[in-house]
């Protein structure tokens, strides 16, 4: 492992990282693995194998610490929420209200429904104890005696795996009453959802956990003050909570030395689309997008020897980028797989890390059609509370459908642009923005493909637009 090696510390700035990757440490094992390091160990799904690999030592360590000291370590680690928004976890934890006599709750967000994202599933399915250990530590830090894992209903076989891990942890004294003799009691319960992307939004999740429709709440009050059953609540993503384990094991400062800038630690990326090796990868955020796509260690290049056309790097809600802007920023710098670099250039020329759902489109894909499926998704998932979101998502889907099926008018493209502008920022929850951004980015970067559809209603039904001017200027031929 390269913890503490030149990849993981002291390096700042893209040039240095590139140098580090391509020259002086080229022959070292560069990929720091914290979460998935034991993913291939036989039987790791069960307590014995997990324990043998050093599992539950972080829990033992943490339960001897003061809860505030754990929060402090997490703050020092620089860990940012892995659910999409990237909010600093330690800071979020320090906001939790502690009114006398009112129970507090930790809720693990395992709703994972953002198209392109399937990393939490991997963690829960294959290394469930890592999440359970993270939950024990985090529950202790926050003072949650009853912690809930809210998992999307479709992952119907995973609750059994999690409950098995919970039972094993309990049998070994890591859950239940008076854990490890500390006087701390904690139970973890698994709650299934029933099919609703919106329940990944934390206040909708809380409503759902209360047995209601997943309608997001108006904030404030924030969950940290008034969450589930009006009690102070922290909602964190699966991967965020799993990352607490290595943070406690190695110490927050050491964790923060991995990665670069404010992108500390490692990040799980679920890669899909037209690539040779779709799957879940753990990266240490010092590699370039180009390396991630083309190296055999990760995606293994574009499938069938095709060319790269576009990519949505952080789940369906973040802006799509054409190949040229994906591999290099507008300033001409190598784009890296981290929070800062992926968003370099703002929405004009950049995108976002988001949830780490990395969707790759090859030269044969139609951006209009792809955007249409996403528009349909958001229309389907809108909870319907706010008119801009409820009406706008349906309207955008309808227009995109017309364009895709050769019934579009040239004014439709500007109309689409107008509608998305009117949704963005005018809704109760960020789903409205999440629906607007993919459409905006598709038009911003691929306007000529939309225009071609409108101008060629017959031809566009027979063939795809292809690469056109998006052809990768780097001509990354592999």
């Amino acid at each position: 492992m390269a913890v503490g090696s030149p990849t993981s510390c002291q390096i700042t700035g893209t040039a240095k990282i590139k140098q580090a990757i391509y020259s002086n440490i080229a022959d070292q094992d560069m990929g720091v693995k914290l979460l998935l390091k034991d993913a291939q160990v036989e039987g790791i799904r069960y307590y014995d194998a997990y324990r043998k690999q050093g599992g539950y030592t972080a829990a033992e360590k943490a339960l001897k610490m003061a809860p505030e000291a754990i929060v402090e370590e997490v703050k020092k680690s620089g860990l940012r929420g892995r659910g999409g928004a990237g909010f600093p976890t330690g800071m979020k934890w320090s906001f939790i209200a502690k009114p006398e006599g009112v129970p507090r709750h930790l809720v693990c967000n395992a709703d994972e429904s953002e198209p392109g994202t399937f990393k939490d599933r991997y963690l829960m399915e294959f290394i469930p104890h890592l999440l359970i250990e993270g939950l024990i530590i985090s529950s202790f830090a926050l003072g949650s005696n009853a912690t809930y894992i809210y998992i999307r209903g479709e992952y119907a076989w995973i609750p059994d795996i999690l409950e098995q891990a919970i039972d094993e942890a309990k049998a070994h004294g890591f859950l239940g009453k008076n854990i490890l003799g500390t006087g701390f009691d904690c139970e973890i319960y698994v709650q299934r959802g029933a099919g609703a992307y919106i329940c990944g939004e934390e206040t909708a999740l809380i409503e759902s956990l209360e047995g209601k429709r997943g309608n997001p709440r108006i904030k404030p009050p924030f969950p940290a003050v008034k969450g589930v059953w009006d009690r102070p609540t922290v909602v964190n993503n699966v991967e965020t909570l799993a990352a607490v384990v290595p943070i406690i094991n190695m110490g927050g400062e050491e964790y923060a030395r991995i990665g670069v800038g404010r992108s500390t630690g490692t990040k799980l990326i679920s890669a899909c689309g037209n690539i040779n090796k779709p799957g879940v990868y753990e990266i240490d955020m010092t590699i370039s997008v180009e390396e991630f796509i083309y190296s055999d260690e990760y995606c293994g290049g574009i499938a069938n020897g095709k060319k790269l056309k576009a990519c949505i790097p952080g789940g369906s809600s973040v802006p799509i980028l054409p190949a040229n802007l994906l591999l290099k920023t507008a300033k001409g710098e190598t784009r890296m797989m981290n929070y800062e670099s992926l968003s370099d250039g703002g929405f004009q020329t950049g995108s976002m890390m988001g949830s780490g759902g990395f969707i790759v489109l090859d030269e044969d894909q139609c951006v209009v059609r792809h955007t249409l499926t996403l528009a349909r998704f958001y229309r389907h998932e809108s909870c319907g509370q706010c008119s801009p979101c409820r009406e706008g998502t349906g309207w955008m889907e309808k227009i995109l459908k017309n364009i895709e099926y050769g019934r579009g008018k040239s004014s439709d493209i500007d109309l689409l642009w107008d509608i998305q502008r009117k949704i963005e920022g005018n809704t109760i929850c960020p789903l409205g923005d999440a629906a607007a951004w993919p459409v905006a980015a598709a038009i911003r970067h691929f306007r000529d493909e939309f225009e071609w559809h409108v101008a060629n209603p017959v031809e566009s039904q027979q063939r795809n637009y292809g690469l056109a001017h998006y052809a990768d200027p780097l001509a990354v031929a592999v």
């Binding site: 709650q191 609703a196 489109l361 792809h370 499926t373």
Partner: protein
């Protein structure tokens, strides 16, 4: 009036015990899953009313929830429900062709049930298996990397299971 078995009622009590005193409504979503599995794969009004009575809440509170979440079926479905994902990442890996193939094989449209009551075809949005596309949910599990041959094999498997169970 539908009713759970003793064993299921114990499970219901266990679920309710996960929540604080008086917050038994939180058990609604898990209970609707149980009820749907138990009473024929869909939620009829009497079933929803029964769940309301178990939780001591108003029937309308159950209807509100049952109509919100996509996994609850509000009308009868076939013995086997094929829920094929059609969102972007699956689409670029050929989900449209898989959907068309299933339609032709079973001679039904999306949302319909085959004449023998055996199969229902539903299209769904991203199920978190985008790297293993195209895919569908069948009961509790996912079927991934679908091809026409795999669809054939799944249909055969279902028919065989149904014959054994009858």
């Amino acid at each position: 009036m539908p009713a759970f078995s003793e064993e299921k009622l114990e499970e219901v009590q266990k679920i309710i015990a996960r929540y604080p005193e008086g917050k038994q409504k939180s058990a609604l979503i898990p209970l609707l899953h149980l009820a749907q599995d138990e009473f024929g794969g869909w939620l009829d009004v009497p079933v929803m009313d029964y769940v309301a009575s178990l939780l001591q809440i108003e029937p309308i509170e159950v209807y509100e929830v049952a109509t919100f979440y996509s996994m609850y079926n509000l009308k009868p479905v076939g013995k086997y429900v094929f829920e094929v994902c059609q969102t972007g990442p699956c689409m670029i890996n050929g989900s449209d062709q898989i959907i068309d193939y299933i339609k032709a094989r079973l001679d039904i449209n999306v949302g319909e049930t085959s004449a023998d009551g055996m199969f229902t075809l539903k299209t769904v949005e991203c199920l978190g298996a985008c790297g293993y596309a195209p895919m569908m949910q069948l009961g509790k599990f996912y079927r991934e990397h679908l091809t026409k041959e795999k669809v054939d094999a799944i249909i055969d498997e279902c028919r065989k299971n149904a014959a054994v169970n009858n």
